[in-house]
């Protein structure tokens, strides 16, 4: 079946903070704007339980914050489609092509805000236990472990915040990290103050065990040089993120790790293609900088369209 062709001024790929902010600004500039999202509207932050460092909010859930930003973007005229999956893009020409399962879109500008996804647990048994003890969404799956022994793998803010959240379900919680904690002090203080929590630093997870579902893991204490088996019912994996940029390989210039090369003006190597938010190679990646990137990309996209 031939797909219907549609035209847009701006197509934004990814509906996290950068993408929805770009949509808000592009919509307010009267540009016909479509946001496409293959995963969750709101992006990674939609899973955050409590955000305390976004200006204007003492504490807000990621879901509530991003729902509001989506509503703002839609009120400004942008359209958000989270069900029509992108199959391919061709960004090299003056007219940008974004083909989804249902349509072929032609756009003057594409803003890439596809963000990051969680790194998988790098063990061969990962697939066997995924959903059966190995998890990547605390909000969705934490409830399944009422009064169980939960472990969290990782040492950054996401890991420590996940551990703090999961203590409400866990009988006992282990935070396991291969080096020192990098999370901010406020989150660490909360973690260490909880009597359910044991923090195992300089410790690696080396193997997973269990019939049908996870029942224990093998951990290696680097300082002691000792390996031992630890009974746990679940591991929530928070060991960093990888960029969602496979769609753009061979077209947009990237770093070796797959982040898109673009300056503070968010312009990529391709005219009319911008990159904003965590997917852009930069030193600081926060919600606030994602919003700033989205703003910059949309306003410079408008200028670019005016110049055509």
């Amino acid at each position: 079946m031939t797909k219907e062709r549609k035209t847009k001024d701006v197509i934004i790929i990814g509906a996290g903070m950068a993408g929805l902010t770009a949509a808000l600004y592009a919509g307010r500039s009267n540009l016909s704007t479509l946001v496409l999202e293959n995963a969750i509207v709101g992006g990674q932050i939609a899973n955050a339980v409590g955000i305390e460092n976004y200006p204007g909010f003492t504490k807000v859930s990621g879901s509530d914050l991003m729902t509001t930003v989506q509503q703002q973007a839609e009120a400004a005229g942008a359209e958000v489609d989270e069900f029509d999956m992108i199959e391919r893009v061709d960004l090299m020409g003056k007219t940008k092509i974004v083909e989804t399962q249902s349509y072929i879109y032609e756009a003057k500008v594409v803003i890439i805000t596809s963000g990051m996804e969680r790194r998988k647990l790098p063990l061969k048994e990962e697939a066997k236990y995924s959903g059966r003890g190995v998890h990547y969404c605390e909000l969705c799956d934490g409830h399944m472990y009422q009064d169980k022994v939960i472990s969290v793998m990782g040492g950054g803010n996401a890991a420590v915040d996940a551990a703090n959240f999961l203590t409400k379900y866990a009988k006992e919680l282990y935070l396991i990290h291969r080096s020192k904690l990098r999370a901010d002090k406020a989150s660490q203080d909360k973690l260490f103050a909880n009597p359910k929590v044991k923090v195992l630093l300089e410790t690696e997870i080396r193997a997973l065990h269990g019939e049908g579902r996870l029942t224990s893991i093998t951990i290696y204490d680097k300082a002691k040089g000792e390996e031992r088996e630890l009974p746990v019912d679940a591991i929530f994996v928070n060991i960093g993120v990888v960029p969602n940029t496979h769609l753009f390989e061979g077209q947009v210039k990237m770093t070796e790790s797959g982040r898109i090369l673009a300056g503070e003006d968010c312009r990529t190597n391709l005219p009319g293609v911008f990159a904003a938010g965590d997917v852009r190679e930069k030193e600081i990646r926060q919600l606030t900088t994602a919003a700033a990137d989205g703003t910059t990309a949309a306003l410079l996209a408008e200028k670019y369209i005016e110049s055509l």
Partner: protein
């Protein structure tokens, strides 16, 4: 009959429910936070400790949001 096993704060559960609504498909929501029986049933259906789980006519099911599988089961 379509059933969605979910919890209150769960972005993927929300996505499944929004998708069903967008297609005009009625569903029965089973919040496993509110019912141990639903939680046990959810685990029995999929064997996974994960939500959302969507069942169609009590036998076929989809774990998480998988548009292709949902479409196939729902005949979309």
């Amino acid at each position: 009959m379509v059933k969605v096993y979910s919890i209150t704060q769960c972005p993927w559960c929300d996505k499944v429910k929004k998708y069903l609504k967008s297609k005009g498909i009625a569903y029965e929501e089973h919040n496993i936070e509110l019912s141990d029986a639903d939680r046990d049933e959810c685990y029995k259906i999929s064997g996974d400790l994960i939500v959302p789980v969507t069942t169609v006519n009590g036998k076929d099911f989809v774990v998480s949001f998988d548009k292709a599988k949902l479409d196939a089961l729902l005949g979309l």
